[in-house]
Structure formats: structure tokens, C-alpha cells
Symmetry: C4
Subunit: 204 residues, 4 copies
């Protein structure tokens, strides 16, 4: 029986298989979610191997991040729910833990500027390479409420963003569907890796 | 029923699976085509995941790039048709979006010279490593007609080429068949990557 | 019939498939073990392809490292048994032979400090990135008794560690189960690779 | 019906699948052979995709390199036959075309010294990391007879080697069986890659 939860869950399971296969969710890191039509959110249970997820590894939370099935939500749940709150059109949030994103804060201070890449057209609303976008880099923080607030304030001040990096931790991006969000993950990681290669040289 | 369109389409689907698997067509980038005996061209529909193509993701256009099945052709269609026009022996054109090709223009100005590599023998008509070939690098351009013209004028002026790079965008290469074109993709990308690494663009 | 030995053996076989697939056990290098409830240890036979293990490639030894099935134990067996002796809670020991761990001693003297990485939370007992852990690097030594003693003395002096590197040889880590140990392998290798890249050992 | 030729051929097919999967035989490059009990040699037909070999892609030659089945032997056949002539114990010769081996001659002049690596124990007759071996690097040459002679003279002068690199072209190694030779390929490529990383840095 394929209800909406199962459909979203299977999309997250497949996304996890791809993301882990790329080396982007090592050692159970990373977390992925998708919003259902009624506002409930399917999200990966904390601590599970993201490349070997099963239905049991996907739980339900409400729009405030509270568990709807008795299980303990991930600590990072608020980073997901605050994005769903801000962006009614967002249907999925993906948080991979990639080498590039983990390294970025060693080469860039508090933002990465991406410009002049054809692949920027993979991001929503962009139809030319002749554009300049900013990916903010926030310091990591175990206090997730504080971190979610920081992200929210940044967007209030600077306008909409396509994703953000958490220093030494990975990045968050989102889309209308799991498929779109995964496309954004691919595009951003591809560009993060190139920028590291362009700016990380010069070391003995 | 395996008519010619289906055969070419399946070759493109397999090529896409390989190319995406290598990380050479991220986030729905890239496009691939093959020419049929009667001059019609099978080409990937824009915006599809190049590693998960199905028959529905391959459309038909005529030699001028006009859609033959009601669907909207890719913006880059003219880059394919102008190659088929110039080279009667070409049966397939592949445009991957690789990290190396995207980076090349940061290290080389308007051309990359490849010489002294055994792998140059994978390109048509070359039977020794003691040869020097030039891969032009064109600035990216959203105006595809203008870009196609630029490529055409370059070839008029400089003679036949084996492929070309679009700065920050990837590269185009071709062959008598999808199989040959894919061999050229493999060879050029292998060499692009080495040249990037030799000139400072390795993974720090 | 799934007795305990078979269960542990299959976990080691799967771990080997993953580890070799990542390029972390080239040319039959590496070795993996798991402890049974009665203290006997299932361990990979020396010289077998670690990505293609079968039940025949897993042997039994006792807590002192003596063969229980007539076959010759790996030279490195004592590195496993001394960890099981020291840590009653450890159920598996994994020794991969990764590029990063092999290179580490060229960039770091006798220890690698890891701090400020979210992925440190994949290691037991760590729940914040704001922590500093030390991974000792021991010179390689064909005299395994001497090496096992050196590791043991280090732990006596410095306290518990999460794993250690053998210069030019790879690393050892462990966990309550094969699954946990594999998570630690993933986390440590991810971080070793980043640290190498930050200190000059990237792929030029 | 599994005669000796078929057995060796299937081993070569599997080796090719692995080698190409690693990116070590791009664009139909590379070639692999195995000797039969009666001295005939099974060798890959020139120009075939090394990751998709079938029985049809393996031909038979005699000890002098002459075709035994009407098909044209690879140009590089003499590099195989001269090794079989010199080393009666060698049962397989593998020539991968790896990025590392292709780059090596840009960083090292006419030899690469490997010492102090545990993985050297994967090579025949080595049981310690405390050893120093030399891998010669020969300039590439389309005149294979001349090249085979050069390799032979080097061995006459310097003694037995474990493999050799052809500048800008890849490397050759061998073993008692296809399995052993493949283990040597894995070990040498792993170490070539590390040496490139250690000596290729310092680029802006």
C-alpha cells in the first residue's frame, strides 16, 4: 500500500543510497526529510546508516519538530522545520556531510561566492551562468535552536539563499521535491569541490 | 521492436548511465545525441537526469534542430546539429559536464595543447604519442546560435578538431558512433584531468 | 544454520567488501576480526583478497592468538588480541590499509590531532564537535609483539584512544560490533583524508 | 566446456572489468595476457573496451607473438612475450593505463624508488617494509621491438624488477597468475598514487 508517507520515505531511502555511495554521508552522518501534503514531515532517524535506510529508519514529526511516532527526533530537526516554515514551496531538505563542505571553512571565511558556472542553472530560478550567488558559511554549533535562528536571521537580512554550509559539518539545501533537492545537492557539491581545488592550492 | 531510433536511444541511455556514474553529468547537466540513417537526430530531452534516462527522455529532431515530436528541444541543440552538418561521418555527439572541463578555463586561456600522451591514439586518425593536438576553449555563452557560429568559424580557420571546451561548462566531442564518441569522452577527460593536475588544479 | 561464528564471519565478509570497494584494502592488505561470546575470535586469514572473502577466509583463534582450526594466523593477530584483552566491550577490530593512513606519517610526526569536526560525534562517547582527540602514529614494525607492546604502553600512559595509525601501513580501530567498528573506520578515514589535504598531501 | 584457454580468458575478462572500473584502462587502452601450460598466450585483442571484454576479445598467440587465430595481435604484444621468455614462472602480464603512471614521468626522471611501505609485501619475495625497490621509467616509444629490447637490457644490467612505467603511457607488471598480477597492479598503483601526492605538491 503506497500512501504518501511511504512514497516520500522511499524517495529519502533512495537519496540516502546515492548520497552515501558518493561518500557524502559517512559514519551515519547527514539527515534528510520530506514534507507531506498535510504538513507532517518524514525525516531520517538519528544515527542510522544513511546508505542502508529502510522504512524503519524514517520517522514522522510535526511542523514544530515534535515526534509523532514515539521515536526521538534528530537533534538537527529544527534546521529542517525552520526551512519548511519559511518556504511553503519546499518539499524536501537534504543535509549531506561532504568532504568539500567540511573543508570549505578552512579556505573561505563566512561565505562562498559562486559565479560564472553553467551548473548554477541547476538551482531554481537561474537561467544563465552570468550570475553571482552567495552560499553563507555558519560556524558549527551544538545548540541547534541558536543555529536555526542564526540561519533565519541571515535570510531575513540578506534575502533568499540556495543552501548554506556549516563549518566542519556539511551543508543544507532544499527543493520542491526530494528529486529537486538531490539535484541541488549534486550541483552545489560539484561547485564546492571545484572552488576548493581553485583556492586550496599553493600548499607545500 | 528494435527500430533504429530505439537502438540509438538505448546507446544514449547507456552512455548517460556511464557518464553520470563517473560524475560527468551532475544535476541533469550534459546532453547526448545520435544521428539516424535518414538524418533525423535522437537527442536527450532537456533537464532529465542523465544517469537515469529512459526512452521517454530521448526525443527526435531534424537536421535543423526542429522538434519532430512536439517536445521542446534543448537550448544546446544547435551545437549538435552544426557538428552533424559539418561532419557527414559523425554519428554521435556527446556533451559531458565534467569537473576538469569546468576548471580548464581557470588554468588555460583559449586552448589546451595535448602532446606526448599514448592515449591520444584513442582519437581518430592518431597512431602515435608523438603528436600535438589543440583543444580550443570557448567562453560560455547563453546565446547558442552565436556560440555555434563561433565554433564553426574556429574550425574554418584552424581546421578539424577533436572536441572543444566551453569555459565553466564542460566539453563537446563526437564520433562515428555513440561507442566511438564515448571513447573520445573517456580519453579527453582523462587527459584534461591530468593537465589540470599538472598545472595546479589538483584536489588539495 | 546461523551460529554465532557464521554471523560474525558474514559481518566481516560484508565489511571487507565495503572496505576493499573504497580502496582501503589493496592487494590483500588489511585484516578484520570479531569476538564471539565465549571469547574466541573470528579473524581473516592472511593473504586473502579482502573484497572477496568467503567463509573459508575466516578462521578462529583463541584469546591468546593461537589457531583453533589448524590454519596459520595472520602475523598481525596480536594487534587484535591485545585490544580485546584491554577492552572487554570491544567486539570487533578492523585494520584497513588506506591511502590517507599510509601517508599520514609523512605529514605528522607521532600523532594527529583532530578537533572541531562534527564527524567526531561518530566516535563513542563524543557528543560535540568542540573536542580535541589524539590519534597516535606508531612507526611500522615487523616485530608484532614489540609493536603490540608499544601500543599497550601508549594507552597505559596516555589513556584510552579511538584508533591508531601505523606509519606507511594503515590504521587500527575498533567498536562494540563490526557495524560500530566500520562506522569508526569511515569517520577516521574521512578525517584523515581531510587533514592530509589541509597539510599538503592532496592529489596534485 | 572449460578448457584452459577459457579459464585464462575469463580471468582476463574479470581483471579487465576491475581495472576499467578503477579508471585504469580508459578509452580501450591497456592490454592483458596469460600464458597457457603449452606456452601459447591468451591476450586481449587490440582496441577492445577493456571493461566489457568477452571471449571474442581474447586471442591466442605463440611465444614469439605470432597470431594463432588469424587475428591481428596488439602492437604491444612483444612487451608481453619478452617477459614470458625471461621469466618462466610468470603466468600473466597486465598493462594498465592509470592516471598515476601516466603522470609519474612528469615528477620523476627515469626511476621511482619505493621504500618503507608495508604494501611492498604484496610484491613477490618481499616480507618487510624495510626494503627499497626501484621501478624504472622508460620513455614511450611506438617502436615496440626497440622498447622491449630496452626493457630487457635494463633487467640484464640492473637485475630483476617488479614492473616498469612507460612515460605518459601506463605501466607493466606481472605475476604467476592473473590473480597475482592483479594484486601487483593494485599495490603498485596505490604506491604510485601516494608518491605523486608526496612529490607533486608545491604547485600554485
Amino acid at each position: 500500500m503506497h500512501d504518501e508517507f511511504q512514497q516520500r520515505a522511499y524517495e529519502l531511502i533512495e537519496a540516502g543510497r546515492y548520497i552515501h555511495g558518493q561518500g557524502w554521508a559517512p559514519a551515519t552522518s547527514g539527515n534528510f526529510s520530506a514534507r507531506l501534503g498535510d504538513g507532517r514531515i518524514a525525516i531520517t532517524v538519528s544515527g542510522r546508516h544513511k546508505g542502508e535506510l529502510s522504512l524503519d529508519d524514517i520517522m514522522l514529526i510535526d511542523a514544530e519538530g515534535r515526534s509523532l511516532d514515539g521515536r526521538k527526533p534528530s537533534a538537527e530537526t529544527l534546521l529542517h522545520t525552520s526551512l519548511y516554515r519559511r518556504y511553503p514551496g519546499v518539499g524536501a531538505v537534504l543535509h549531506p556531510h561532504t568532504p568539500s563542505a567540511t573543508l570549505l571553512s578552512r579556505f573561505f571565511l563566512d561565505e562562498l561566492v559562486l559565479e560564472n558556472y553553467e551548473l548554477l542553472k541547476a538551482l531554481p530560478g537561474i537561467d544563465t551562468h552570468e550570475i553571482r550567488i552567495v552560499i553563507p558559511i555558519f560556524p558549527n554549533d551544538q545548540n541547534i535552536s541558536r543555529l536555526a535562528l542564526k540561519v533565519d536571521e541571515y535570510i531575513e537580512l540578506h534575502g533568499d539563499i540556495y543552501g548554506y554550509v556549516l563549518a566542519g559539518h556539511g551543508f543544507y539545501t532544499w527543493g520542491a521535491s526530494v528529486k529537486d533537492a538531490l539535484r541541488h545537492v549534486e550541483a552545489l557539491e560539484f561547485l564546492f569541490d571545484l572552488e576548493i581545488r581553485l583556492h586550496g592550492g599553493g600548499k607545500p
